[in-house]
């Protein structure tokens, strides 16, 4: 292993990356580009629910109640129907998310001092939406209760009240939460580029040419890895600029720490990619495996939207094994919490361990031979 030859390989690889515009785009610009695309769509704030309403009471109180439900815009009184039979098709087509039936005699029951029944029929197909619809209905009904109470219908006081606060993202803005998390996903692109570069040399036969030189396997692999990590860091800076300047995500930590840990993340992803590239013969196979092992699960298992599952052991292990899980955490810690390296030592060491372990396996299984 010679340092001079290693540097020569790194320079050769960097020149390859810079020379070809497509390659340059894939390695450096595509993460920022994807972030721009994804974050705009993932930053959903309010969820509206369309209600189908069957008001069998038709009194001022029932209308007042319905108006109070729709007052803050979460619940939309989208359909007013005249019979039960009209409710079902609206729910099946998904045009209404829930239906509300106000029985006749609603107002009379309330004024007599008893609880009047209101029936809510919820589309449970999407349990998240269903649960949210139920709590929106209950919460809005609670406000109506409190509101009428002020007019003297009832009196009562809550002995305990809840003060809510969110730290690190006081407005609970989803852009602020999603963009740092998405950085972990879009920064898989440089790894994808490395996977393609490693297998392309096999496919087009240029690897053989390289083997005729004195370069040894370790120099070849490390040279490629270092070049792609360096290019990856450029992409990380570009993506971070988009996050901070375009999406106005606060950046409370240190840039140096962020880049150091990004390099750590690249090492973990790229180390695994070296192993994959040793096993497969075509770019096609490499792309499939990177897509199915890294990209798709990272959307669902890395804690980007729902936090990492505390349920089944298999899925906890899968989440732990995904480098993105740790970098989603790190990225949010640096951007939003402004933590120091010492406070993030756990995820940092996990990524380092993964990277070095995979790299050792990759070097060991690499055969400098002509297939």
């Amino acid at each position: 292993m010679s340092l001079r030859r290693l540097i020569a390989i790194v320079r050769k690889e960097l020149r390859h990356i810079v020379r070809e515009p497509r390659n340059l785009f894939l390695v450096t610009v595509s993460p920022a580009f994807l972030l721009l695309l994804l974050a705009n769509i993932f930053s959903f704030e309010v969820r509206q629910f369309n209600l189908a309403v069957l008001d069998l009471d038709q009194t001022p109180l029932s209308r007042h109640y319905l108006a109070s439900l729709a007052s803050d815009g979460d619940l939309v009184l989208a359909y007013s129907v005249a019979s039960y039979a009209e409710i079902e098709p609206l729910l099946v087509k998904g045009e209404a998310d829930a239906a509300l039936v106000i029985p006749s005699g609603f107002a009379a029951t309330v004024y007599s001092g008893q609880a009047a029944q209101v029936q809510a029929i919820i589309d449970g197909t999407d349990p998240f939406a269903g649960t949210q619809a139920i709590s929106a209905l209950t919460a809005r009904s609670g406000v109506f209760v409190a509101g009428t109470e002020a007019t003297g219908l009832r009196s009562g006081e809550q002995p305990v009240e809840v003060h809510r606060q969110a730290w690190y993202n006081a407005g609970l803005e989803s852009t602020v939460s999603m963009v740092p998390g998405l950085l972990a996903i879009v920064l898989i692109m440089p790894t994808m580029a490395l996977a393609l570069a490693l297998t392309r040399e096999k496919e087009t036969g240029t690897l053989e040419g390289l083997f005729a030189t004195p370069v040894v396997g370790a120099e070849y692999l490390l040279g490629k890895l270092l070049a792609y990590i360096a290019a990856g860091l450029v992409s990380a800076v570009l993506a971070l600029l988009v996050a901070v300047l375009w999406f106005r995500v606060p950046f409370r930590g240190s840039l140096a720490v962020y880049l150091l840990l990004a390099a750590d993340y690249f090492l973990a992803c790229m180390g695994a990619t070296v192993v994959i590239a040793n096993l497969v013969r075509s770019q096609q196979a490499a792309m499939f495996i990177v897509l199915i092992i890294f990209v798709v699960p990272s959307f669902f298992l890395a804690g980007l939207i729902s936090p990492v599952s505390t349920g089944a052991l298999a899925s906890q292990l899968a989440s732990f094994a995904l480098p993105a899980t740790h970098f989603v955490e790190i990225s949010r810690m640096v951007c939003l919490k402004g933590l120091s390296l010492g406070q993030m030592i756990r995820p940092a060491l996990i990524l380092l361990g993964m990277g070095l372990g995979a790299l050792a396996v990759g070097l060991f299984t690499f055969r400098k031979k002509v297939a």
Binding site: V160, L196, M287
Partner: protein, 371 residues
């Protein structure tokens, strides 16, 4: 003509089978992915770690802590006495929610002259988890408060009695929602990738010219490339469909025949699109880049991670041109809601138009590109 297409299909399938690792991966990975993701999203957001800063140390504060722990969403993992410890646990992500019980809480409650505050602090870096844990904690505190009030003889106004009925997915099982979506999504992913690489690979390796000098017509070449991709996607669909029904007991309320027919229509649209991407790329790497960006766009527009109606109007309009969006609605409605063509004709029509349109465009432009 049938013979020539048949020969090409056989050649494609032989070639596919030769890279054992890749073939095994394409046939097995989707099923494994389905099982893994289904495991991961079995219970939604549960057992999130909570830190309680109990400055009161009374019987009531202990009672409140037990109530918090008894919810499915929360798990009281830490009890601390200093705000610094609380801050550290939130910083490091060991706790996702903090509940502060002030000193003198129980003593002042017994007087009950004014509402006593309980502070709930969520880690806002993940807004989804923050809102779920915050509402769970607020719910516990409100019920705690209501119980206290009942004990004091204060009756809380409650004049609306909600009767909630949940349709289509009565237990609100998250799997019944996510598995049909994953089924559609994974089928999509495999089909598009296989189709998109077909022509690009031949072009890059120079074998496309050899194919062009054989008696194969352009249209035959395209069909011969498309049918294997369709077959691979279809087989993947059948395998995952069987797993969804047999392993995860997702209900199949609608007509299986309708689902198969519409799946075929969807696969035609995706294969056409894949071949088109394949024809406009000069190298496999370029095709891969296109597929990748396409997949990212489709993930965001398909309505799985973000409901379509939450998108801005312009993006909603774009999403109508994404076959996956219609297909996911179809899979979910047929399986869970037992919907038939009466309800699903708009989606079926959209899918038919899209596959016809894409098929024609693909045929024409691929044929032109091959000249």
């Amino acid at each position: 003509m049938i013979l020539r297409i048949g020969n090409l299909v056989i050649k494609e399938l032989l070639q596919f089978g030769r890279d054992r690792l890749l073939a095994g991966f394409i046939m097995l990975a989707p099923a494994l992915q389905l099982i893994l993701l289904a495991q991961a999203i079995d219970r939604g957001i549960t057992e999130q770690p909570v830190v309680v800063l109990d400055l009161d140390h009374s019987r009531l504060s202990r009672q409140l802590m037990t109530n918090l722990d008894n919810t499915g969403e929360l798990w009281v993992r830490f009890e601390v006495d200093s705000p610094d410890d609380m801050r550290r646990l939130l910083d490091e992500g060991q706790a996702r929610l903090a509940v502060v019980i002030p000193a003198g809480f129980a003593r002042r409650l017994s007087g009950a002259s004014s509402p006593q505050p309980i502070q709930v602090i969520a880690d806002g870096t993940n807004t989804v988890a923050a809102s779920v844990t915050m509402s769970a904690a607020s719910g516990v505190v409100s019920r705690f408060s209501a119980d206290l009030a009942a004990g004091y003889g204060l009756v809380l106004p409650e004049f609306i009695d909600f009767r909630t009925a949940i349709r289509f997915n009565p237990t609100m099982d998250l799997r019944h929602f996510s598995i049909p979506a994953q089924l559609g999504f994974i089928t999509y992913q495999v089909t598009l990738a296989v189709a998109a690489l077909g022509l690009a690979r031949e072009r890059e390796l120079g074998t496309l010219e050899q194919l062009l000098v054989t008696p194969l017509r352009r249209s035959e070449l395209i069909l011969g490339k498309g049918i294997p991709a369709l077959a691979i996607g279809g087989l993947n669909f059948l395998a995952m469909w069987a797993i969804s029904l047999a392993v995860f007991h997702v209900p199949m309320n609608g007509s299986p025949l309708l689902l198969v027919a519409l799946t075929l229509l969807f696969l035609i649209a995706e294969v056409s699109w894949g071949l088109l991407l394949s024809a406009i790329s000069r190298t496999q790497q370029q095709a891969i880049l296109f597929v990748f960006i396409q997949a990212m766009v489709d993930i965001t527009f398909c309505g799985y991670l973000v409901p379509v109606k939450n998108l801005p109007p312009l993006l909603q309009a774009i999403s109508r041109f994404v076959p996956l969006q219609h297909y996911l609605t179809i899979v979910r409605s047929i399986m869970l809601k037992g919907a038939g063509l009466d309800e699903l004709w708009p989606q079926a029509l959209a899918l038919a138009l899209l596959s016809l349109g894409m098929g024609v465009i693909a045929m024409r432009s691929v044929a032109r590109r091959l000249e």
